[in-house]
């Protein structure tokens, strides 16, 4: 009965979403407060119903109710409880239900906390959210229904794909989806502004935190996915330019651009039309990501749903929402009032530069990801676009971003002073040059460019705090004075500094792990020992261990430094009995921020065990950097002040004033 209640709740949610996408929008046109007032209760009701439905599906998983097709295909009674729960979204149907759940949750949040939103904006925004809800609820119910029943029911399930039975994969999809779906809020606000033909002041005030929140979860989600691929797929890479990774990177890049242009819009009332376009494109890229992963057009570990019917359905959703919103944009954008004006050298100017490069980088990733698909569809020829393409396009585009990034916060709004800003950067440049020289001089091996990379990363990290230093008058005023000023700084200033520094930290990790990693592949007998990366690694032997729904063969390695045991590594292979799948479980020992990584190969007949051991210096910085970035986002999100960009009084009238956009 619970399963059927969940199913019915989903159907009812569809009915409410239909009403929500029609009645409030009609009310906004007719200026009828009662009809607009429907938006909030409908959004709340829709969320309650989808949450009920999700709870019912989770209940079926936890109790191993094998009368649901979805549970049969993705669960097993012997599976640990956490994977029974994560199995709910570890598959196509369940993950889409999670998508819808997050979508309706955001709708409900707008309904609950949007009291100070103008009524008409709120009605339109929730109306557009309702339309997205209708599309995805229909998609779930008609092509990917998790509540399909099987009668008579088998007594055992087929188990979840063992690759997905991992704590990383239990939290990666929810993080990523909160990010993807969070951009739907920016989209709904943008479409609402276009319908209305005007951008309210409340618009920017609302869009920025939503975008920030989506961005922060997407950052964590991508980092989580990257770390998962690093330790689970067994070959120790952290980014593969896999189309599915690119699918999440594209909304992240354009979302980052949106975040910055939304700042300009909130503070300076400029870049309105551009911000709206970015909001539309960012959600379009999120939908594209969903399409790429869910349609099965890509063959990769993520594409566990291979079903053309679903692909076509998502393509239709994509076409309707992207095509519809862009058409609306083409019609309505000229009607939007242009905003404030600013000089080329100003905070706004720097943010425009940021947007320029970020969108270009997005385009590069877009081409590299979709060109092979388009070519295959058009000519049937299969090509693969690999890391060299991305390194040669994406890399050079990120370089100027990293260079300009520390400068921007030092520039004033409206018109800035470049020399003054440059003076603030002296310290950062000094650190960067010193680091480059030291690395080039003292670190053996690796490409020469790597030293420059380290310099650039340190420049970004130190430079990120230049604005904070400037504003706290560090080293120029007594420490107590600086401390008092630091406490008084708005948390968004700290947030920006941390987010920018996080970029630098990640870059440092990428450069070091790429340039100075070392690796050995060898076959060892029990008792043998090797010297590797300044440590002695002894192979003790192989051990068999039973698990709940798998059997493990683990190799035992003892790592010693100067005869003292410092770590144990236990790379293993797991055989999952229900699916007869063999998985590599790598083992990692962390020394500071560097890691020793071991993976076990196929069993060999001659009593030897194949092992691959690598040393990856500073590799954890890649993910720590993302956490620092997300922390910066959180600080910025906590700053709920209203913002106005305070311009400096022009010393003399600037001749280079120009309108925004």
């Amino acid at each position: 009965m619970i399963a059927e209640i969940g199913h019915y709740a989903l159907v009812l949610a569809l009915a409410l979403a239909l009403l929500q996408s029609v009645l409030p929008v009609w009310g906004a046109r007719a200026r009828d407060a009662a009809l607009m007032g429907l938006a909030s209760p409908l959004a709340l009701g829709q969320f309650a119903l989808v949450a009920l439905s999700f709870a019912a599906l989770t209940h079926a998983y936890v109790t191993s109710d094998f009368s649901l097709q979805n549970v049969i295909e993705n669960s097993h009674s012997a599976k640990p409880l956490i994977y029974k729960i994560s199995g709910v979204w570890g598959n196509h149907e369940g993950s889409l239900l999670l998508w819808v759940l997050i979508l309706t949750l955001f709708g409900a949040l707008v309904a609950a906390f949007g009291r100070n939103l103008p009524d008409r904006l709120k009605a339109d925004v929730l109306g557009v959210q309702g339309m997205i809800g209708v599309a995805f609820l229909l998609f779930v119910l008609l092509t990917s229904n998790p509540f399909t029943r099987v009668d008579p029911s088998p007594l055992e399930g087929q188990d979840l794909n063992p690759l997905l039975q991992d704590p990383g994969l239990a939290i990666h999809p929810p993080l990523l989806y909160i990010g993807y779906v969070g951009f739907s809020m920016a989209f709904s606000f943008a479409v609402a502004a276009l319908i209305e033909g005007k951008v309210d002041a409340a618009w920017a005030r609302w869009v920025r935190p939503w975008t920030l929140m989506a961005w922060l979860f997407l950052t964590l989600g991508i980092a989580m996915g990257s770390y998962w691929a690093y330790y689970e797929l067994g070959w120790g890479g952290f980014w593969f330019w896999d189309p599915v990774e690119n699918a999440s990177l594209m909304p992240w890049l354009s979302g980052t651009a949106l975040l910055h242009s939304a700042v300009v819009m909130e503070k300076r009332d400029a870049l309105k039309v551009w911000t709206i376009l970015l909001a539309l494109l960012t959600f379009a890229l999120s939908l594209l990501g969903t399409f790429l992963v869910r349609s099965g057009v890509l063959t990769s570990v993520h594409a566990f749903a291979v079903d053309p019917a679903r692909g076509v359905a998502i393509l239709i959703i994509l076409a309707v929402f992207v095509g519809g919103s862009l058409a609306l944009y083409a019609i309505r954008a000229p009607a939007l009032k242009q905003g404030g004006i600013f000089a080329p050298v100003s905070r706004e100017g720097a943010l425009v530069l940021n947007n320029l490069f970020l969108t270009a980088a997005t385009a590069a990733v877009f081409v590299g990801t979709l060109y092979p698909l388009a070519l295959e569809a058009a000519t049937g020829e299969k090509i693969s676009v690999g890391p060299p393409f991305f390194n040669n396009t994406f890399g050079p585009l990120m370089l100027p971003i990293m260079l300009v990034m520390p400068f921007a916060p030092l520039l004033a709004w409206k018109r800035g002073d470049a020399t003054r800003a440059a003076r603030g950067m002296v310290g950062a440049v000094g650190v960067a040059v010193l680091a480059t020289v030291l690395v080039a001089g003292f670190v053996q091996g690796g490409p020469t460019l790597a030293a420059l990379g380290v310099g650039l990363a340190l420049f970004a990290i130190v430079g990120a705090f230049a604005e904070v230093m400037e504003r706290t008058k560090l080293f120029r005023a007594p420490l107590a004075e600086s401390f008092r000023r630091a406490k008084g700084l708005p948390s968004s200033s700290w947030g920006g500094a941390f987010a920018h520094a996080g970029m630098g930290v990640t870059l440092l990790g990428v450069v070091a792990a790429t340039a100075w990693s070392s690796e050995v592949v060898l076959a060892m007998r029990p008792g043998e020992q090797i010297d590797f990366a300044g440590r002695q690694i002894a192979f003790q032997g192989v051990e068999q261990r039973p698990g709940p729904n798998y059997r493990t063969t683990a190799a035992e390695l003892v790592v010693r430094e100067g005869g003292v045991e410092v770590a144990r590594l236990e790379p293993a292979r797991r055989l999952y009995t229900a699916r007869k799948m063999d998985l590599t479980e790598s083992s990692i020992a962390t020394f500071g921020v560097s890691q020793l990584y071991a993976a076990m190969g196929e069993a060999r007949g001659d009593g030897k065990t194949a092992l691959r051991i690598s040393y990856k210096p500073l590799v954890t910085l890649i993910w720590l950097g993302s956490i620092v970035m997300a922390f910066g986002g959180l600080l910025s999100l906590a700053d709920r002040r209203l913002r106005v960009g305070a311009p400096r009084k022009a010393a003399r009238p600037s001749p280079a004033m120009q309108p925004a956009e």
Binding site: H7, L12, L44, T63, D65, D200, A202, K649
Partner: protein, 375 residues
């Protein structure tokens, strides 16, 4: 029934969510176009004042920003026209239409879609409850799964293995059956029945061929006390497969002779004998002839005539052993036991020098109950 009540309540609640706000009397105040903006700008001015007071921005910046916000505020205030008074008649009509839409869309969509996709007839089936529920004897798959789940937890349960083995046999899962019987022997010790079952499973697994493994198990069963009849039957079949009819007959005959009169195996053993004798089919009237013979008596008479003619022909020209076997079997089938014995005696005498024929004749006699158990 409980399900339908819950679904009805849910629908009601959803309808309430959609309709209640329409019924509520709202202040007629129209949502003006610009009031949101004005509020935001006023808040911004307050914020600037606070920032300035805390020394976060300088005098000049504060002044410039104030000027800018004030400009925006003025523009927004100008844009804020007095909202046209609600045309209350039109508003009431709109709300009625909206309520009507809600009342039609909700049940139409939910009943339509759920009616097409839902399975209200299928109850929840959580695994724990299913394993504890009383066994449904008709649902073999369920029973097997229960026993399997129990054996997974306690693989040293010999009784479990011996219970599940025969079920596997019936389901055609011969591999699993052989494994189960082997486990039962390992845990409970060998016995005639268990060894025989193992042998049978191994034979079935090899598509009816008695492999060496199977033969070993069957021999052990046949040698146990009391000897396993099933094992003897399989060994006899194995002998027959090898062309050793006499050996097969010798294995089965003592069992047949010694079995008590009410033994359930007698019937099966007779079938084995007949199989061993491999007699040709009984004579049957051709379809044309059957057409003429309308009643059962007429058909019997027809068959009797055919059998009599066969007997006369064999008495005259001898014939081969197959024809004699056919005659004996036909006489028995017609209930003419005396004549059957007579034919059997003649055949034995005629083929006295042919051991193969003798074996087949003896097997048929045993299979038809003409000899053996003091008949």
């Amino acid at each position: 029934m409980a399900l339908w009540i819950v679904l009805a309540l849910m629908t009601g609640a959803a309808a309430l969510v959609a309709i209640a706000p329409l019924a509520r009397r709202r202040a007629a105040a129209d949502a003006g176009a610009g009031d949101g903006d004005v509020a935001v700008y006023r808040d911004q001015l307050d914020e600037l004042g606070r920032d300035h007071a805390r020394g976060l921005i300088g005098d000049r910046e504060s002044e410039a920003a104030r000027a800018e916000v004030a400009r925006r505020l003025l523009a927004a205030s100008a844009a804020q026209e007095a909202g046209a008074a609600q045309d209350s008649a039109a508003a009431v009509r709109r709300r009625r239409i909206a309520a009507a839409i809600a009342l039609v869309v909700l049940p139409a969509v939910s009943l339509g879609v759920y009616g097409a996709l839902g399975r209200p007839d299928v109850p929840d089936r959580p695994l724990a409850a299913r394993l504890q529920a009383p066994v449904d004897r008709n649902n073999v798959a369920d029973m097997v799964a229960r026993v399997e789940a129990a054996l997974e937890k306690n693989p040293d349960d010999g009784r479990g293995w011996s219970v599940v083995g025969p079920i596997y046999m019936r389901l055609g899962r011969y591999d699993d059956a052989a494994e189960a019987f082997a486990q039962a022997i390992r845990l409970l010790g060998p016995s005639g029945d268990r060894e025989a079952n193992l042998g049978e499973a191994l034979v079935a697994k090899a598509d009816g061929v008695v492999t060496d493994d199977a033969r070993a198990a069957l021999e052990r069963a046949a040698a146990s006390a009391p000897p396993s009849i099933k094992a003897a039957v399989y060994l006899a079949r194995a002998a027959a497969q090898d062309g050793d009819r006499a050996g097969a007959l010798n294995r089965l005959k003592p069992l047949y002779v010694q079995a008590p009169a009410d033994s359930p195996y007698l019937e099966g053993l007779r079938d084995e004998f007949q199989r061993l004798a491999a007699p040709p089919a009984l004579p049957m009237p051709s379809p044309e002839e059957a057409q003429v013979a309308r009643t059962a008596e007429e058909r019997m008479a027809l068959v009797r005539g055919m059998v009599d003619r066969l007997g006369e022909r064999l008495a005259a020209d001898g014939g081969d052993v197959g024809e004699w076997l056919k005659l004996v079997r036909s006489r028995t089938a017609l209930g003419d036991e005396a004549k059957a014995r007579e034919a059997l005696a003649s055949a034995r005498a005629k083929f006295a020098a042919d051991p193969q024929a003798q074996t087949r004749l003896e097997a048929l006699a045993l299979g038809l109950g003409l000899e053996g158990r003091g008949a």
